[in-house]
Amino acid sequence: MYQLLKQIAKTGIVTEPAPLPDAALREVEQKLGEVILKHFGRSLAIRHVDAGSCNGCELEIHAMNSPYYNLERLGIKFVASPRHADLLLVTGPVSRHMEVALKRTYDATPDPKLVVAIGDCGCTGGVFGESYASCGRVSNVIPVDVAVPGCPPEPLAIMRGILTAIAPGKRR
């Protein structure tokens, strides 16, 4: 126990400043009013859905919980069910095999809800494109508010995307 406490003390706080929202990532105009945004801004529940990714984007979503990024300090946390979620974070091209599961997850998420598509595949279908097995980009299957490109996008870029989704702002 001494060694554990010593390691915590030695490490100190390594968390870095959070990024600012970027309206350039918006796919559509912000639908939520200022009052609601104020509340979302203080507590946002996210359900992640891997709709067919190569698992690269998942690595960076995990990294957002590392002490450097520490997403939870912003009041943003991942929840186990879409019924508890305000925002869906969707990775991958949507595989045809995941199409129904993604739609059902979207329907199970209470309104008002937000969707952030992650990675080149989520934005455009990426290297996998559209085929007999792939529906391509996330917005081909459910409405998307914000899309974050990158292969995979770095944790700060994903955080910026999430913060953009709950920030006031028009599509640039």
Partner: protein, 513 residues
């Protein structure tokens, strides 16, 4: 050439590899003989040969002591079929079912004829990997019913989990049959992330395929990119420079270190030691940032290419790499002693999710999970080729096969990989980092076989004319290990499932393809 009584010819590859064409009538005899010689079944797949004068073919890759044997069985155009080998190699079961779903090649007398890759995207009787099937075909959603094995008895009930899971993980369905908290049976249904990777390769040139190969399973991008490069280099007669091989070795070990750091962190948080998660993920982030600084990408994607690598390390950069790794090594050693002495953690690790050596051997458990269960294989040790030849990797082994054993193997490999990076960096030969790739002829074959962090990754390639791909099968070690997860959880309690699952950390995308 090999230990088997068949004629083989060598395949040009950096790894020792041979090929042989056999009749369907001799398949079982050859495979049974291979099994008695303790050969491992690495992969089984099929191909459509109707565009080049044949009909269909079945392919098997077996790991023999002398190297990799690629067996090919030509099959008839009408009702292509072969005798099932799932009774000899149980891990063949899902591969045979996938081969049927994709190509309509039937395994006779198989213990299990349920669909595997096919869910909703296409109906039965349609086979996407047949050459006549256009990749852009969009078929109406088909019936997705699937007959899970039902466990009956007083007090037994089912917990269906997924495909959308509670945590940030890939999609798949787990069907638990339980009594109270105890798991009586787990049945997996995977392939939700099937996105037509094998079909996509057939629309690509050898140069274009490199990017896709690096995205079969993102967490193993270096292993796949290297296996792909090795296969293309063999098929085209290209010799990558020695310096490129050294740099590939460094990157493959950095990938292993990054994944082990991340999983060791999660194994801590899965038993309530969130301290472990935060500490290990701090170290992992340090490493990812170092990767980005030195190679331009946090996960080293698209740096290993056919012919060599795209980024070199200068002398100053090598110094920085070794200095930072030494810091991470020191901290990881402290964390290991904290894990080792933490009674609550060890109590949850020890005797949880056990796979005993006998079962592991019989079912073909591989990679790091195999090494924790007495199945001691590691391509870097079994077939030492450059750059590993010069640095003599030591294999991490264990026999107890529980979560604690897999944690122990990960810690050992973490420190060994750090030693290997240091040795490889110190012996990096001077010179070029990339050779130009010669144009390959149609009908060429290539084998790429690399020990990724999870286990051995195989890429088998057959070329078409104009430097295109006729057929490519990427094979992830998770194919072999997923069925063992079903066994590992048997008799454990449901709340230990995430811990056991994470101790294997298998790829979905890598097997769903």
């Amino acid at each position: 050439m090999t230990e088997l009584p068949i004629r083989t010819e060598p395949i040009a590859s950096a790894m020792p590899a041979f090929r042989s064409t056999i009749e369907a009538g001799t398949l079982r005899a050859v495979v049974e003989k291979a099994k008695t010689q303790k050969a491992r079944l690495v992969a089984l797949w099929g191909s459509d040969e109707t565009t080049r004068g044949g009909a269909y073919a079945l392919h098997l890759a077996l790991a023999l002591r002398s190297g990799l044997l690629w067996l090919t069985l030509p099959l008839a155009r009408e009702h292509p079929r072969y005798p099932s080998i799932a009774d000899i190699y149980p891990c063949a079961n899902r591969m045979q079912r996938a081969t049927y779903d994709l190509l309509g090649i039937h395994a006779q007398n198989s213990p299990d004829h349920r669909k595997w890759v096919r869910h909703r995207a296409w109906p039965g009787g349609v086979f996407p990997l047949r050459k006549e099937f256009d990749i852009g075909t969009s078929l109406p959603a088909s019936d997705d019913r699937y007959a899970f094995v039902k466990v009956e008895g007083e007090g037994v009930h089912e917990i269906p989990v997924g495909p959308v899971h509670a945590g940030t993980i890939e999609p798949g369905h787990f069907r638990f049959s339980i009594v109270g908290e105890k798991i009586l049976r787990l049945e997996e249904r995977l392939c939700y992330t099937h996105k037509g990777i094998e079909k996509l390769f057939e629309t690509m040139t050898l140069a274009e395929g490199a990017k896709l190969a690096g995205r079969v399973s993102g967490d193993s991008t270096v292993a796949y990119a290297w296996a792909y490069a090795m296969a293309v280099e063999g098929a085209s007669g290209t010799e990558p420079p020695g310096r490129a091989l050294g740099l590939r070795g460094i990157m493959l070990e950095l990938e292993r270190i990054a994944n082990h750091l991340g999983d060791l962190g999660y194994l801590g948080s899965d038993v309530g030691l969130t301290f472990g998660f935060f500490q290990f993920w701090r170290l992992k982030e340090d490493l990812l940032r170092l990767n980005a600084q030195l190679f331009g990408h946090r996960y080293l994607m698209d740096i290993v290419v056919p012919g060599g690598v795209t980024r070199d390390l200068g002398r100053g950069e090598t110094g920085l790499l070794l200095e930072r790794l030494e810091t991470i090594r020191g901290e990881a050693a402290t964390l290991k002693s904290i894990y080792d002495e933490h009674a609550g953690t060890q109590d949850r690790f020890i005797m949880t999710g056990q796979v005993l050596p006998e079962l592991a051997e019989q079912m073909g458990l591989g990679g790091l999970a195999g090494r924790a269960s007495g199945v001691w294989h590691d391509l870097r040790v079994d077939y030492p080729i450059p750059p590993y030849q010069q640095v003599e990797p030591r294999m991490a082994t264990h026999t107890r096969g529980d979560v604690a054993a897999r944690v122990s193997v990960r810690f050992e490999e973490l420190f060994e990989s750090m030693r290997l990076v240091q040795a490889l960096a110190n012996q990096l030969p001077p010179g070029e980092i990339r050779a130009s790739v010669a144009a390959g002829a149609a009908g060429g074959r290539g084998i790429g076989w690399v020990e990724g962090w999870r286990g051995d990754v195989l890429i088998a390639i057959e070329t078409a004319d104009a430097n295109r791909i006729h057929r490519l099968h990427p094979h992830d070690p998770s194919w072999q290990n997923w069925p063992l997860l079903e066994h590992a959880v048997h008799g454990n309690i449901v709340p230990d499932f995430p811990l056991i699952n994470k101790s294997f950390n298998l790829s979905y995308s890598g097997v769903d393809l």
